[in-house]
Subunit: 297 residues, 4 copies
Amino acid sequence: MDIGFIGLGNMGGPMALNLLKAGHNLTVYDLSANAVAPVTDAGATAVNSVAEVAAADPAIIITMLPASSHVKAVYLDRDGLLARVRPRVLLIDASTIDPITAREVAGAAGAQGNAMLDAPVSGGTGGAVAGTLTFMVGGEGEDFERARPVLEAMGKKAIHCGPSGNGQVAKVSNNMLLAISMIGVAEAMSLGVGLGMDPKVLAEVLNTSTGRCWSSDTYNPFPGVQENVPASRGYTGGFGTDLMVKDLGLATEAARHIRQPVVLGALAQQLYQGFSAQGNGALDFSAIIRNYRKEQE
Amino acid sequence: MDIGFIGLGNMGGPMALNLLKAGHNLTVYDLSANAVAPVTDAGATAVNSVAEVAAADPAIIITMLPASSHVKAVYLDRDGLLARVRPRVLLIDASTIDPITAREVAGAAGAQGNAMLDAPVSGGTGGAVAGTLTFMVGGEGEDFERARPVLEAMGKKAIHCGPSGNGQVAKVSNNMLLAISMIGVAEAMSLGVGLGMDPKVLAEVLNTSTGRCWSSDTYNPFPGVQENVPASRGYTGGFGTDLMVKDLGLATEAARHIRQPVVLGALAQQLYQGFSAQGNGALDFSAIIRNYRKEQE
Amino acid sequence: MDIGFIGLGNMGGPMALNLLKAGHNLTVYDLSANAVAPVTDAGATAVNSVAEVAAADPAIIITMLPASSHVKAVYLDRDGLLARVRPRVLLIDASTIDPITAREVAGAAGAQGNAMLDAPVSGGTGGAVAGTLTFMVGGEGEDFERARPVLEAMGKKAIHCGPSGNGQVAKVSNNMLLAISMIGVAEAMSLGVGLGMDPKVLAEVLNTSTGRCWSSDTYNPFPGVQENVPASRGYTGGFGTDLMVKDLGLATEAARHIRQPVVLGALAQQLYQGFSAQGNGALDFSAIIRNYRKEQE
Amino acid sequence: MDIGFIGLGNMGGPMALNLLKAGHNLTVYDLSANAVAPVTDAGATAVNSVAEVAAADPAIIITMLPASSHVKAVYLDRDGLLARVRPRVLLIDASTIDPITAREVAGAAGAQGNAMLDAPVSGGTGGAVAGTLTFMVGGEGEDFERARPVLEAMGKKAIHCGPSGNGQVAKVSNNMLLAISMIGVAEAMSLGVGLGMDPKVLAEVLNTSTGRCWSSDTYNPFPGVQENVPASRGYTGGFGTDLMVKDLGLATEAARHIRQPVVLGALAQQLYQGFSAQGNGALDFSAIIRNYRKEQE
């Protein structure tokens, strides 16, 4: 299939490579020549602007961008995608942005006859490389079915979350819960160990009890409890604190928009914001446990 | 085996019945004649004081009491267990109390030659009746092994959590995490549904993603998402809000004792305390979602 | 002096009337004819667009608008103020908006030779009518001096807070602290009265001790403690909960922008957001004490 | 007047010296000989036990002790004050303890014919030395009047807060509000300065606006804003963080006792607890601002 791809960063680059591997033809664009090189080396055709991607007339165009402002610019600018794309081309935005902007842009696309899906991912750069991302997708069911084979070339799962914007809704809801759970596990582990329990025994109890969660059984933040998690390698790799700060910002902003209180969510945002301000923005988000205990080394 | 049992309330009563079913001989005591009746009907011998339980010379004495003050009274009073019990009798306190008191009482018992285990349970009154409780046990390993067959007559699992007090530590750590997760799920579900998602689809996304936890996949607080949970029957049954308030009080008090911050834990305590103050103390603790959304009926 | 005035709502209307009273000539514009009528009745000249206000060539133009989006539109639109205003006209935006937008718009004005001040007010609609507002002003010192007599025709005080945007910074910082203090007083009064103190005696102690604050000594939220405050008239009048929700949104958003944690500020935002979601948005913000105690009536 | 005084620590020592200066006869007791020496040097008579203080038959006995457990021991032990004191002796406990214990002990005293006042102080060690403490007093009005001249020899003000325990209630309510306000000021100052304001200008705005409070206008935590406050001398002197942690513990425990939510109060407790756990327990409590910004030196 002929596919356009805009945004070849840490996530977009490997995603594009997986599409090439699956045999698709790619027309790609990124501001950074360094980002473009590995993808053209693997067989993609590079062009010099968003408008030229549209001009190459692909069946599907995928965008993977850092934030709402970039998405708005790429889609809505005078020389942006919507101004240049032909009718019936399917647009897929895999960026993580706020649901309100996602719906706005999709509405503009739909008004001129272009179906659009919001399809944010989870799985991180590791999942992007390995092709094991999960896509949470908002949009019409038939468009989702049309996109599915392409999404599955980049990930292991695509979930249809309902109409436009719901991919973003699912992502911010999940990640807010993740942040809360992670801090909850950090507090429970710190409390139990501080009161005299062995961390591995405590983790085992939690994991077989009602406190069980992904942050305790798959990604435990306490050093030495699990192998192959950031906590066992100095909180390197994984899902960066600053990305969590960004997602919590999207969650609380969306909550504010609909006047929905999210008390623990807002507190989690502040705790991560403070942790980042202390210079820890690049550490994995499970490092938040350092707020709660000194590491004995 | 000859077993003494003190405290035959909503939890202790059914636990004692399960011991009788397993063929043990029971000498029991409770202040309330109503609580004693079903247990003597089933074959237990009732006596009139704590001291008489000790005088019956059982091999093991089990206590199941509401709070630290009762445990102190039953064990440490002038006519209490420690004053009357013979050496080598194994003492098991299944009450949920603070770890510091648990260690104090166990220390006093040990000083006079009585091994003591703290063995708080999870599983609620349903688990007590069905014999499917989980025991979290603190104390010496050999005493744990001696107690294990008796505990397994009342529950499906007994976990040795380390030295004295650690059963209580495991319980308060787990339940603090549970309270945090439950509120987290309540907020994430309310946010996602408020932003336009179907609650069942959102739950499915959370349950297969990094937000997954017992409160989302086994005990979802959103009405209509799961069958056979309190949320689907008006938040009746289950684990009462006031019990959660009690456990959060134990957790934050223990944290204060060791100067351990538990930020989300303390906030969860206040949210439950406020919810109880509004008259909801008897509802299942998953009803906290009512703080976040109006029920559409 | 010839003054243009855009935005004649609950605040802007009475402010314009006070300018007329002080003898200034006013050219005014508002979308709503109802809002314009009382001001033209008092002697102002109404025009039909923002551009026409600029065309009337006043020495100073004042805007009083609900939110950032309106400010951006009025100043930056194709037919907006900046496109039409002559050089050297002094622009004063009295709206409460985020500091980042305020600086952006002032920067655009400055680039074309128009000095601009941000001058949000405190004092509410009562202060607007009585001419007792306080203006917190950001911009150059000489521009502030030029504006001062005009501001003092509408208020009792104008404080120069530093360069552009600092008026907004001062306002959001102050109002975030106000929200925190008010909830703090609500909690302290509820706790003390719940434990047996007379509310008036408790207020007196707080007001002569280290807990003293504007929310305790001038605007006490406990019913019956002070006369002539919203708490003594069912929380009507005063500063509405929804306005506080708006200001807390501006504060936490500005904090997020610079990665500054504001833990109590964010929690205050959620508490007010939840209080508003329960249908209390129109009550004075001191009504938050209803979250903490049932009123005995 | 003949006065007994038990507890001659950092607070009690200087308080006793001020009583001597005012011409009273003192019989004193403290476990530590070092604490006793300066008071006997100034003319007091030292004895060797609590019982001997009672035996000296003073008209009033004052106690100044670290915590509830000490108060219970001194008053209720077999050889304690209540067992030995004659009827009609007025008992004054100036310790800061929880209101529930204060009422319990006063009840026991009253039952045997000894009036008792709870009279916790504010003003710190500086106020104790200078004789400028404020006493918040719970108990009968006539007993308060009897105590007043003695209290005023040690302080500049004594406030009658109502029946027994209300002195403690006033103190914990005030100090909880103080903790909340201080953190609120720390956040507002950090936010405003982070967004570009001069700290002195910002403080001036807050102090003349609705954010005004003791923590902003008398004890500002931002370095360099005020002279002669802990913030201008590296947070030495003043009211220690660990004392605030203790008072917040009393407040939240009392709240829990009556099921009163104190959301910001509990969060303030955790923030101070975490700050203390990081090794800052001896710093003045205004140092909490270090959680929010790096000091630029």
